[in-house]
Symmetry: C2
Subunit: 347 residues, 2 copies
DNA sequence: CTGAAAGCGCTTACAG
DNA sequence: CTGAAAGCGCTTACAG
């Protein structure tokens, strides 16, 4: 690269001081500079193709205008990847809207859980979003207590760290109500993951409450745990099929797990939805292309990304809302796997 | 945030100069510092929880240790999003390996095509990867000529800008050879996109060459253009089915387009692979879950991300290889849609 | 082996 | 309305 022009060069060419160059280029309000001078500066900058050096600006302003999106994957990698494009799009769009850049930082399995703290401590970013927080992360709590701007994607029970998540419980309830409306009374459930995960517990709670609403007692024999992947869904469904009194419908709190469950059903020669109705959760890209197309609870990935960034930036800029626990609503997407006629033929 | 410690604080606590602090913390080679001093500095830094300020470091070193991944989406958004997780993972992993951060910057439809140049001109990054370059991008050529480190994901005909892409032609040939090996002689093709796109032309060329190898003349009646999405695949397949002499197999150079083509086939009551063999290209996440599971050409998204970043960093660090045009090999994934028995029952 | 000083390229009080 | 000067927090020749 040839020598870059500096503000000094622009000042020289325009015949003004560096102060004036800075004032003009940053459009500092409440400072009157003659239109001619302003024009001369702008012209000089254009002519030299001058762009202020970001590093110098960061240093002097104390702002990086950057946020980091830390992507902490667990054993549930596949599952989460499905939301990455949408989440990132929402996050980057909001960031741009507010004038920030986005640093993307996945934490790989071979790294320590708090490998991301140096981003904060080293002032690489003004704040960060942690997707997939671990409850035993001491570094996270330290940082939060010190006042470093932080937003979680996903919840951490027992803390009041700002967090954005989906309303898992009401999402699950919507799926169960749909099944109930179609006449099912014996409804099984396969969770998305072990109950150590808060989302799993919440989805299970939604299932329980929706049944309770219509007076159906909770029967734990009808509930099996999935573990993020297909194979876990296949096994859980096999267990359900081994029951003396089979359910007529199963709510599976993860589309990926549902894929495996559908396979188990096929292996048993059962048809969906005729012999068994199936509802999923997540609405991953694949769900609409399954046979039958999967009725599922849509998770607004874009909205999660947008909301997390918006909340974070408000915190960074000292404009934090009083309520920092954001829960986004899901939406039931009716397709074929429950036997309801879809609103449109094309899904 | 409370006051951050600076190198001055560490120096004071350790009883040395800031120079020494810097030397120790950066592990500068060929400078001998007594083990005791070194120890004292390290201890002081640990005690104060000191991390050097990234902005100051960037300014003084002239390095940001950051690369940008610019994601230029076109009308082919859906198609490209499918590769984003893998590409990003490869890119971030390579970046971390070499000690760089990754800034993710999608260019949205409402932005100008060269909205990303300020990242380079303003020294926000040491170099960048442009995914989905436009051939009419003057700013890109300027930057390249000025020597700014740049790597393209995808090709730009007529330039020698370093670029990483998949070998489209050989990928297409592999699909066609597979179809030929299964006995098909009348093989149609639906392109992934209009032929203005270089990848479309290359995949078409692979189709043509593979047929030529076995002496089958090219018949343009058998070729229709897709346009990234399902609907285009549906229409193209309808056109193919309207032919007096139908093909017995169709190579569809995009899985997303293939999804639409499969629908058209279903609508016509044709079975795959019995009545028509289908091979795709891309191996998007959905392909293995289609009915029938799609035989397709796998694009190594992770490898593309890794290679692009590795090449870029070598260029940044003045260690550019002589060959800066990287073509990654694809791999044919045999599943059910061509009627070949899959290597394993589980795909 | 270690320290005092300059400087990276900006922005921002503070004078005029 | 505009300019000279200080300073952001580091690193790195350059002296000792």
């Amino acid at each position: 690269m040839p020598d870059r022009p500096t503000s000094r060069d622009v000042a020289r060419l325009a015949g003004v001081s560096r102060t004036t160059v800075s004032l003009v280029l940053n459009n500092v309000p409440d400072v009157h500079i003659s239109p001619e001078t302003r024009q001369r500066v702008l012209e000089a900058a254009r002519q030299l193709n001058y762009y202020p050096d970001a590093s110098a600006r960061r240093l002097v302003s104390g702002k990086t205008s950057t946020i980091a999106l830390v992507w902490h994957r667990g054993p549930d990698r596949t599952y989460r990847d499905a939301f990455l494009p949408g989440l990132l799009q929402g996050a980057t769009r909001a960031a741009r809207h507010y004038g920030y850049y986005v640093l993307f930082r996945p934490i790989e399995p071979d790294e320590s859980d708090d490998a991301w703290v140096e981003l904060a401590r080293g002032r690489h970013t003004d704040g960060l979003i942690l997707s997939g927080p671990r409850s035993d992360d001491a570094a996270l709590l330290d940082l939060y207590r010190e006042g470093f701007p932080l937003v979680l994607h996903g919840q951490l029970p027992g803390t009041d760290i700002p967090a954005v998540d989906v309303d898992n419980e009401s999402g699950a309830m919507a799926a169960i109500r749909h099944l109930l409306a179609l006449g099912h009374r014996r409804i099984g459930m396969i969770t998305n993951a072990p109950l150590a995960y808060i989302a799993s517990r919440q989805r299970l709670e939604g299932y329980r409450r929706a049944l309770e609403e219509v007076g159906i007692p909770f029967d734990e024999a009808l509930v099996h745990c999935g573990n993020f992947d297909e194979e876990s869904g296949r096994q859980a469904m096999q267990a359900l099929l081994a029951l003396a009194e089979r359910p007529t419908a199963v709510f599976i709190a993860s589309d990926m797990v549902a894929v495996g469950a559908l396979r188990a059903l096929r292996e048993h020669g059962l048809r969906v939805p005729e012999d068994m109705a199936i509802a999923g959760f997540d609405d991953i890209a694949t769900s609409r292309y399954l046979t039958p197309a999967l009725t599922t609870v849509h998770v607004p990935a874009f909205g999660l990304g947008w909301s997390a960034v918006e909340l974070l930036i408000r915190i960074i800029e000292g404009d934090a809302p009083s309520e920092t626990q954001v829960r986004l609503e899901t939406e039931l997407v009716v397709r074929e796997s429950c036997g309801a006629s879809a609103p449109q033929g094309k899904v």
